[in-house]
Amino acid sequence: MTHKTQSLRDTRHKDTSPVLVWWAGGLAIGVVLILAVALVQPIGVSAQYVVLDGVLLHHVLPDVASGSPYLAKTAQGWTLATYEFFFVLGIPLGALMAAMATSRFATRVVPTEWNQRFGSNPGNRLVWSFVGGFLLLFGARVGGGCTSGHMISGVSQLAVSSLVFSLALFASAIVTARWMYGDWGKR
């Protein structure tokens, strides 16, 4: 991709800083969506968490896995050799290559914002990261999609379902974040 890269290193953020400005990053994501829609289908991530669950569980406890109609339907054929799974597999690969290529592979357990509010205890952050992940995928599966499938792909197709999900998502996320970080009642 030939987007003009501007180094926009924001020193306030200890997290990995962006290399692409917002419009270049948004354009890149939009172009990937357009390519995917032209060549195969809109993009989606969250269903593949179920597929991986199903295939792993089917490997160890085949009867338990087959006993769930939802797993059997989502992880059809108990295989990871699908376009959909490989798309999701590509995400960390591309991210790793991008981080390496720009020397931005960096590790930290407790992010800056979290540290300022909840302290530097890594155990605390990890427990809540787990809880957050649980809620993310539980919610995504109730809704049949996540930020990729609903917000990026779905809204681009003018799907009413995706608009409803995205509005509920942002309302809930903003209220939760402002409450967690103590923003209510002060400017």
Binding site: T16, V32, A99, P111, R125, G143, S172, A177
Partner: protein, 175 residues
């Protein structure tokens, strides 16, 4: 062939998310706290480009559309739960994979929590199905179908509006 295509497109998506800083916990949380809307500008740009591009493809007959079913109140409950997870973790299911690949251990745990959450949902599904999906089912409806117009007629101006809004919203990073 399809597997390679999937891997390539996925890698391009992962690289775009990584390079644009969408996997940064700080950037996400500051956006949700309404302190720095850079991530919102990014998302609005992606949606604006997507709206215009996807519907231009559709006009040419090249788009492989896949619209998800509308079911109320299930989708609202889903969005509310997802939103709490988004604020608590600071990641979404895709950006957690990106942050995990960048070497962020809290994102590894988010991915693990996600796998467990998806598994619990899978086994609760028969019960949840009757609770959430038994009424308010409308199928894969789109806004332009409801209005009875061609998709591009709405998508092009709306896409333009998203891009305009992305440019107008305040952000940290200048540009």
């Amino acid at each position: 062939m399809m597997l390679w295509l999937g891997l390539m497109l996925g890698a391009a998506f992962g690289a775009a998310l990584q390079l644009s800083g969408a996997s940064s916990h700080t950037a996400i949380i500051r956006a949700l706290r309404l302190k720095d809307l850079t991530i919102i500008k990014l998302i609005m740009t992606a949606i604006g480009v997507g709206l215009i591009g996807v519907h231009l493809l559709d006009l040419s007959g090249w788009a492989n559309m896949k619209v998800k079913d509308l079911y109320l109140p299930g989708l609202i409950v889903a969005g509310l739960i997802f939103g709490v997870g988004f604020a608590v973790s600071g990641y979404c299911p895709g950006t957690a994979l990106v942050a995990a690949a960048e070497g962020k251990p809290d994102a590894w745990v988010t991915v693990l929590g996600g796998m467990i959450g998806a598994l619990v949902f899978a086994f609760m599904f028969p019960d949840l199905e009757t609770l959430l999906f038994s009424f308010g089912q409308y199928g894969p409806v789109t806004i332009h179908e409801l209005l009875g117009i061609q998709g591009a007629l709405l998508a092009l101006p709306l896409g333009g509006f998203c891009l305009w809004l992305a440019a107008k919203l305040p952000g940290s990073g200048g540009a």
